[in-house]
Amino acid sequence: MTVPTVGIQAPNLPPKPRPSLFAIGGTLAAIAMTIVTARSVGFSFGGIVTNLGRKNSVIEGLLSPDWGQIWSRRSRAPFIETFQLAVLGTATGSLLSLPLALWSTRFGNPNPFTRGILRGFNNVIRSIPDLLWALLFVSAVGIGALPGLLALFFFSLAVTTKLTSDTLDGIDMGPIEAANATGANLSQMLRTAVVPQILPAYSSFVLYNFEINLRASAVLGLVGAGGIGNRIEFFRGRGEWEELWGLVFMFFLVVFVVERISVTLRRRLI
């Protein structure tokens, strides 16, 4: 007896869902944006290839950097200044960011009017980039380390306030109720019910902020605000790319070491 073979029919598949209007619209918008912006910046693949392929001192310098810069005595002082700027900028900015973040929350500042003003202030300072702060302060108080410090202060304030605010949004409200129930006033409540909850995250943000500030303080000097950037700008002005890249590599080394230390500390803190 033979087994009757049964023709296998394709199962009734459900219809493939059509892509959502949002996906189609989003893709079209992205394509349109690309076309418009490409025209605006004068984009061309050919241009990129020719420009990169041309013989130039920048890439030659990158391939044979002047490693002597790493031990150069004249680079040491600007490096220390960069480090000091990052320390002081982080310390002052993040110190003020804690009350600023607390006063921008509903439980820390019951007054909707002042809360709105503070939040607006946070948004505005957050939209100004580090180098722009530096340029503004160089123009206001002259060149040197002072505009760099002021720039990093505002920059750190913006960053740590934002990060701390996000943490504050997610804290446990129980301790706050408990503190209020025992009749604590606002500052007592914040001190005993809120700050202990966010302190580990906050200290970690401060360290993180220090890492970004160290990177940022390297470029501040490009607009005259002190630190290693001054020296980078000096080499750039003279077209000495070997020295410039040597300096940049040394900077990487410093940043790398500091980051390792900072990451270890951050892990230990949380």
Binding site: R126, D166, V223
Partner: protein, 295 residues
Amino acid sequence: MSVSFIPGPAPDLPPKPVDRFKWFFSLGVIGLVVWSALSIDLKWSRLLEAPGDLWTQLRLMFSQMELSEVPDLVAAMWESISIAWMGTLIAVLFAVPLSFLAAENLVGRPVAWVTRQILNILRAVPDVILALAFIPLFGLTPMAGVMAIGVGSIGTLGKLFYEIIEGVQRGPIEAADAVGATRAQRLRWGVIPQVTPELASFSLYRFEVNIRASAVMGLVGAGGIGSDLAQSLRFKDYGSAGLGLIIVVLGTIMVDTVSGAVRHRIVAGSSRQEEDEEDESLGLPPGLAGDVLPL
């Protein structure tokens, strides 16, 4: 008989735990700050004059604005936005393949390690330094900014992307393997559908970050509104600088708002369940937000 309340001795509280690490840490930080404050080459008395100088500067900036300059500055801001968009696009084009090569669940450990080191090196170079390097190659044009942003974002985007890829569910990949998919098919049907929304969301986020970066690059000559700002401040045309600053802030906030809304929609998907909750987070998948903050 009356009950009288006798105050007893305070209960035996356990001793407060002492965390040595915290003490050392705090002392170290304070020491570092004091050393920096004392040894930095800075006249602290100048700090007292700074608020006055700043006030003068702000008054000059915001009292001499000429509204006739608005169209030019808006056009310059648009150029900055264009630089950010094209730069991000270039970075995404390179970051996607690199991130597949850096994900340990898709390729072998050695390949992933090498790719990650490439991403780490790219991540370490500040954008502005890249802009300095590209200006001699491309001239003082927006393309120098595009290249700087493009190259500068590959590292960060690649790192975020491979973290997302490593977090995908194994199920679809196994299913693809079970029906005999080739490597490419497995990628196409097992991985890409899972990661596309998050990759898109992060790319948009990076675009927002890059708007700030491109505004800044102009300060060293790489096109966009930064060039105008630097010029105005250099030639003490404060009114124009003030107006430019306002336009940078407004433009940045505007793009952030639009792009943020789109990102929330992408991450939330078409399901409308979570819309009731007021969500002030960054619209990023949990756990990664800390790594990507730009500022």
